[in-house]
């Protein structure tokens, strides 16, 4: 059986994860192609403000008469883009730090891990807020700020994996064959260290989406794109008269993050079958 098919067979065994994967696929497709199918500008005033969900506007309009459904579709793009990009950046950086610390040990390990602990200590959300306030909110800066506060757990995990592998026989054999350190790290140990890292990094996407929504809610969002957190912030002012306005985008976040977490658990079952499920 081919490897991807085999993987899917094991992944599918966790039914919640399989369903979540399909929902997530739907959300991703909406983010990619939704604006083509439903070509409405989420910033444009389309009708009377603060309409409840109805026939003309399926999810109603916000305080400025903007179509909430259009906002939701465009917001999916921003949430997924920032979530995935921030997680990816944090994973690459964390892997780099963890690999160097774990493989070389001694002083390098000491220095790198002190830095990692330091970043684990500072309240990450406050640091992200300060970074974005200094460098101005843009999609790139928000992504970078989230990545900067998210890499330490990956680094710790990668370090532990590299420590577990660096003295194994296959690594010793590679050294005896005269392989360079870089080659051993990237081509020999990394593929073995990757599965648990992939699981944590998939969960990081969920955390990143939650962080992004919180930042947008505080007004730290790129003013040129609409995001779910921003929509909640807008709806907050009319909580008394139109509770659905903040409820809808929040629910979208909940479903997306829930699905990512469940897929992460499924990945864990499929990639690390020997590990006991918590």
């Amino acid at each position: 059986m081919s490897a991807p098919l085999d993987f899917w067979r094991r992944f599918r065994r966790n039914r919640a994860a399989a369903v979540s994967f399909l929902v997530l696929l739907l959300i991703t497709l909406t983010a990619l192609f939704g604006p083509l199918v439903y070509p409405i500008d989420p910033f444009e005033m389309m009708g009377r403000p603060s309409q409840p969900p109805g026939r003309r506007f399926w999810l109603g309009t916000d305080v400025s008469g903007r179509d909430i459904l259009a906002g939701l579709i465009h917001g999916a793009r921003v949430s997924l883009l920032i979530g995935v990009a921030a997680s990816l950046a944090a994973t690459v950086f964390g892997l780099l730090v963890g690999a160097l610390a774990g493989y070389y040990g001694r002083a390098i390990d000491n220095i790198l891990m002190r830095c990692t602990d330091f970043f684990l200590t500072i309240p990450s959300f406050v640091l992200a807020v300060v970074l974005i306030a200094i460098f101005r909110p843009s999609v790139f800066n928000v992504t970078a700020a989230i990545a900067i506060v998210s890499w330490p757990p990956i680094a710790r995990l990668a370090r532990a994996e590299f420590i577990a592998h660096r003295d194994r026989e296959y690594v010793k054999a590679c050294r005896a064959l005269g392989m360079s350190d870089i080659e051993i790290i990237v081509r020999q140990i990394l593929p073995n260290a990757l599965p648990p890292v992939i699981v944590v990094s998939s969960l990081l996407v969920a955390t990143a989406i939650l962080t992004e929504s919180g930042l947008s809610f505080l007004g730290l969002a790129d003013p040129n794109v609409i995001s779910w957190g921003y929509m909640i912030g807008v709806g907050r002012s009319v909580l008394r008269s139109a509770w659905w306005m903040p409820a809808i985008p929040g629910f979208a976040i909940l479903i997306t993050v829930l699905c990512i977490n469940l897929v992460g658990e499924g990945l864990n079952d499929a990639l690390n079958p020997r590990l006991q499920r918590r």
């Binding site: 200590t121 990450s124 959300f125 907050r236 509770w243 909940l254």
Partner: protein, 325 residues
């Protein structure tokens, strides 16, 4: 006893480099921010000349080499001088310190509620392993982990304040009401319920899952089998023998969460208009008061470091094996 003292001293000294690193990070961020103090004052005094700005720079030591500025910065930190908020016209340290009690009250209440409910849920889930209540705890945790806290706060306001009208939707006390001291405490308590619940619910899930896992692990030990063999009731085995031994690992994790708790507090305070550090962050953002923001980052990092230190010391005193390591 000397061992304990040595442990406390060693652990406390380990904090110093971390605090220095926090100060260094703040210094770097301060210099990355556009415009320095001289620019801001010059701008506020209206169309000032280049000479005036240069004079100000000299007065603030901003014309010196960077490393000298860093030493000046550290020296000022040692006297609790975090700079001046040119927006609110008050020292940053004063602004922050008067907000700390409200945030601490909120965080402590949230964490105590979460700890009590979470641990109880975890115990019951483990004792009813693979039954209805156990699944309920797992599903609750999944949903709570996926819910943005600030959104949960808004939804709780809709339910309890707007629809049912039984709890206040924001602030820390009823404004302008004449009250006796006990009534005032009760009033603050009523205002505290929703923000503390909003902030705490996430940690209810965290502690419930931790306690459940920890209990299940303890259940596999021999002394539990021995207790059962003695003919003790399952309730007694669970509550007395398993739970008391499962609690320790859960206590350590309380400290690890404080930085995260503080981040959540910022958002929750913004939602409920709770007059703590979080609200201060929100106001500082609105007014682009970077000096104040950096001060908050510094103090909140300090709070986390101290809290972690206290938990470590507490853990060391609870479990003598750690002191002697």
């Amino acid at each position: 006893m000397p061992d304990t003292l040595w442990f406390v001293l060693r652990r406390t000294l380990q904090v110093a480099p971390v605090v220095l690193a926090i100060a260094a990070l703040n210094f770097v961020l301060l210099h990355m921010a556009p415009g320095d103090a001289a620019d801001i004052i010059a701008a506020q005094s209206g169309g000032s000349s280049a000479e005036f700005v240069a004079e100000l720079r000299q007065a603030f030591g901003l014309d010196r080499p960077l490393y000298q500025q860093f030493f000046i910065y550290i020296a000022r930190l040692l006297t609790f001088d975090l700079g001046y908020s040119y927006v609110q016209h008050r020292p940053v340290f004063d602004l922050i310190i008067e907000r700390v009690p409200a945030t601490l009250l909120l965080m402590l209440t949230a964490i105590v509620i979460a700890f009590v409910i979470g641990v109880l849920l975890g115990i019951v889930a483990a004792m009813r392993h693979r039954r209805l209540l156990d699944s309920f705890v797992s599903v609750l945790a999944l949903i709570v982990y996926a819910t943005p806290q600030f959104w949960l706060g808004l939804m709780l306001i809709v339910l309890f304040s707007i629809t049912l009208g039984i709890l206040p939707s924001g602030g820390m006390a009823t404004i302008g009401a004449e009250m006796s001291a006990p009534a005032r405490v009760l009033d603050i308590g009523r205002h505290l319920v929703l923000p503390a619940l909003t902030l705490g619910l996430f940690y209810v899930a965290v502690y419930a899952r931790l306690m459940r896992a920890s209990m299940l692990e303890v259940y596999s030990f021999d002394f539990i089998t021995a207790a059962r063999a003695k003919g003790l009731s399952e309730t007694r085995v669970g509550l007395v023998h398993a739970a008391s031994n499962a609690l320790l690992p859960v206590v350590t994790l309380a400290g690890v969460q404080i930085g995260h708790l503080l981040g959540g507090s910022i958002l929750v305070e913004t939602v409920f208009g709770w007059p703590g550090l979080g609200r201060l962050v929100f106001d500082a953002l609105l007014q682009r008061d970077l000096n104040l923001l950096l001060g908050i980052l510094f103090i909140s990092s300090l709070v986390v470091v101290i809290a972690n230190l206290l938990v470590d010391l507490l853990y060391g005193l609870l479990d003598p094996r750690i002191v002697h390591k």
